[in-house]
């Protein structure tokens, strides 16, 4: 199991809020906010993979992007490698970029179709280093080897590659500047089952070779169980549970985590007959108008009176296990 006490914190997120304003009417008055990320705190330790799971619209991608300051957060602090980046200027931030990188979901949309593979992987080198053309090409070849792309394809264009290979190009680009921290935003969601395993194994190999730290955002709970050391579960803009992998999957605490895990269909017909499945009623409320009290109170099978009035505090109930639920507040 992953021992957090021995490790150094690489990323520390505290009270992160990311609101997107809603302007309505003729005068475009500010009439509300979409609370995409609402008071989220977590740490990521050096060399670990933190999985961030949740359903669509829960704010997991926004959270990942805000952590890299791709958005200007509404409130909260984000420390990466000892530096607070939540309010730094863009020019100072640019110097930080080599440390933190991102792999995007859709390899089709995140690669420029008019640039060759060598140009795409070489772009961060051109922007952030003073390498000569020959040095750059050496590094590009090195990266292509590392992610399992054939060097002969360096002058090809993204459309000539399959989805899995395109994702490898995206990963090579993210690795170009020797980052410490990579946010992987649904890196395998667009890939076929048989290709997903190839990319996940590649990410794991690179992590152990280069000592990388990942924030792995995904809606695929079984894949997160495979790759993550610790897992944070988000619901409607808030982290409802954060725990080491074994604890979360073997003994989930928050009613939402329990329901989410039981909703994942197991590839085993026998398991379906015996499973006591919790099927949630209704839909996720809108993040522009979350319910009063706990965000999950409208769908929670264990809802109590207090849940409809007070927002539960996100607190540590056992060493390393955080839950935001009134059930554990007595």
């Amino acid at each position: 199991m992953f021992d957090t006490a021995q490790r150094k914190k690489l990323v520390s997120v505290n009270g992160l809020k990311m609101y997107f304003p809603i302007h309505t009417g003729l005068l475009r008055r500010h009439t509300g906010d979409v609370k995409a990320v609402d008071d989220v705190s977590f740490d990521i330790y050096e060399g670990e993979t933190l999985g961030l799971v949740g359903e669509s619209g829960c704010g997991k991608s926004t959270c990942g992007r805000a952590v890299l300051r791709l958005y200007d957060p509404t409130a909260g602090t984000i420390e990466v490698d000892g530096t607070d980046i939540s309010t730094t200027s863009q020019s100072a931030l640019r110097k930080m970029r080599p440390v933190m990188q991102m792999v995007f979901q859709d390899p089709q949309a995140s690669l420029n179709p008019r640039m060759s593979v060598a140009d795409i992987i070489g772009e961060p080198l051109r922007e952030h280093t003073k390498k000569s053309k020959a040095e750059r090409l050496d590094r590009i070849y090195e990266l292509m080897d590392a992610v399992g792309l054939n060097r002969d394809f360096a002058n090809r264009y993204p459309h000539e590659f399959s989805g899995g290979q395109r994702q490898r190009i995206g990963i090579a680009r993210a690795l170009a500047l020797n980052p410490k921290f990579i946010v992987c935003d649904e890196p395998i969601a667009a890939l076929d089952v048989s290709i997903q395993a190839q990319v996940v194994n590649l990410l794991e190999d690179l992590q152990s070779e280069l000592g990388l730290t990942y924030l792995f955002i995904s809606h695929d709970l079984s894949m997160v169980r495979h790759i993550a050391d610790r897992v944070a579960v988000m619901y409607l803009g808030k982290v409802v549970e954060l725990a080491p992998r074994e604890g979360l999957y073997d003994d989930p605490k928050h009613p939402y985590t329990i329901a989410l895990l039981s909703a994942v269909p197991e590839p085993d017909p026998a398991a379906h007959d015996s499973a006591n499945r919790v099927i949630l009623q209704g839909d996720v409320p809108s993040p522009s108008n979350p319910p009063q009290g706990c965000n999950f109170c409208t769908r929670c099978p264990k809802v109590m009176d207090i849940c409809k009035q007070e927002d539960p505090e996100f607190r540590e109930i056992e060493p390393g296990r955080f839950v935001a639920c009134h059930l554990y507040n007595q």
Partner: protein, 335 residues
């Protein structure tokens, strides 16, 4: 085909679909045969490009021809061969006796008409109902698929529904004319897991209540395990394995099925330290296959796999597999 106790409602024999484009041919479906019995749920699994959707679209004339050329021995439905049917005859079948649910409810519902209109359309076209009668039936249908406050929601437009609710509307439309067969093409892929669980429960319920046969296309082995009675595994435009669901998961015979089951991680039970990988890419189907489509990625492949395309050999009462390799002996199959 294999068990003849109950008559099939749908019988597909040797279906082939070729897309003839200016840049060459794509053999998307090759000699696909299957049957479907009343009240049965047939799962079709495969990766993108394996031909699972095109097969279902072809059999009721939904692929644009040209460029597609659909051929085969026949698609028999209620005593009619759909392959030789005219457009008018097909139109009378589609949406009436064979219903459809597609993957993305937002793109398959018309955004400028309210849901009530779209539900009443098949009722009025196929069943010749009056407007008033159709409205009553439309409301019943919405209630059937579990949409609360049905009367009022008939006037709502698709964008006013959430993803899960929209998919319920799609299912209601597909069920409008009491179809014998419902074809559901990745109906839960665009939905979240908790919503997917709701839809899966609903489908199981409806099938028991209405007794129709369902073809459920998906790439998710977990969904198949929970819902299907029998399963077709497709790869490279052909059926590589066919078995009852428990048999398939307990006793997979085709190297592709076996590898696929190995490669998916689980939420419960043992956690593998490293994922098993199927190396390589799925084939591009440029010509009629003269060899096994999986041979390049198969760790069991031998000479014969490159010379001949295996046909489906029976290995059990309702179990057949298109492979020259025999997992029982670990050697070549005696065929």
């Amino acid at each position: 085909m294999l068990d003849g106790a109950q008559p099939s409602v749908l019988d597909v024999k040797d279906l082939k679909t070729v897309f003839k484009t200016r840049r060459g041919e794509v053999h998307a479906v090759n000699n696909v045969s299957f049957h479907l019995k009343a009240g049965e749920l047939l799962g079709v699994v495969g990766e993108s490009g394996s031909g699972k959707s095109v097969t279902m679209m072809s059999l009721i004339g939904l692929v644009p021809a040209p460029p597609a050329v659909v051929s085969g021995e026949g698609v028999f439905f209620e005593g009619q061969n759909l392959l030789t049917a005219t457009d008018d005859e097909l139109r009378a079948v589609r949406g009436a006796r064979i219903g459809f649910v597609f993957q993305d409810p937002m793109t398959s519902l018309n955004p400028v008409f309210n849901v009530g209109f779209q539900l009443m359309e098949p009722l009025r076209k196929h069943m010749g109902m009056s407007k008033a009668k159709a409205r009553v039936r439309a409301k019943e249908l919405l209630e059937l698929v579990g949409i609360p406050d049905a009367e009022r929601r008939l006037k709502d437009y698709p964008h006013q529904f959430s993803g899960g609710m929209r998919q319920r509307v799609m299912i209601a439309i597909a069920l409008a004319c009491d179809p014998k067969v419902l074809i559901a093409d990745e109906p839960t892929t665009a939905l979240d897991v908790t919503i997917q669980a709701q839809i899966l429960e609903l489908m199981k319920d409806l099938r028991d209540k209405l007794g129709m046969a369902v073809v459920w296309i998906t790439h998710d082995l977990g969904v198949i395990a929970g819902i299907a009675d029998r399963v077709l595994v497709m790869y490279g435009g052909q059926v590589v394995e066919h078995a009852p669901v428990r048999e398939l998961f307990a006793n997979p015979k085709h190297p592709y099925t076996r590898a696929l089951l190995e490669t998916v991680p689980h939420v419960r039970g043992e956690r593998a330290e490293r994922l098993e990988v199927i190396e390589g890419q799925p084939p591009i189907l440029r010509a009629h296959p003269t060899a096994c489509p999986f041979r390049d990625r198969c760790d069991k492949a031998f000479d014969r796999c490159a010379r001949e395309n295996p046909s489906r050999y029976p290995v059990g009462p309702v179990h057949d597999v298109a492979c020259f390799w025999d997992p029982e002996t670990g050697g070549a199959r005696d065929v």
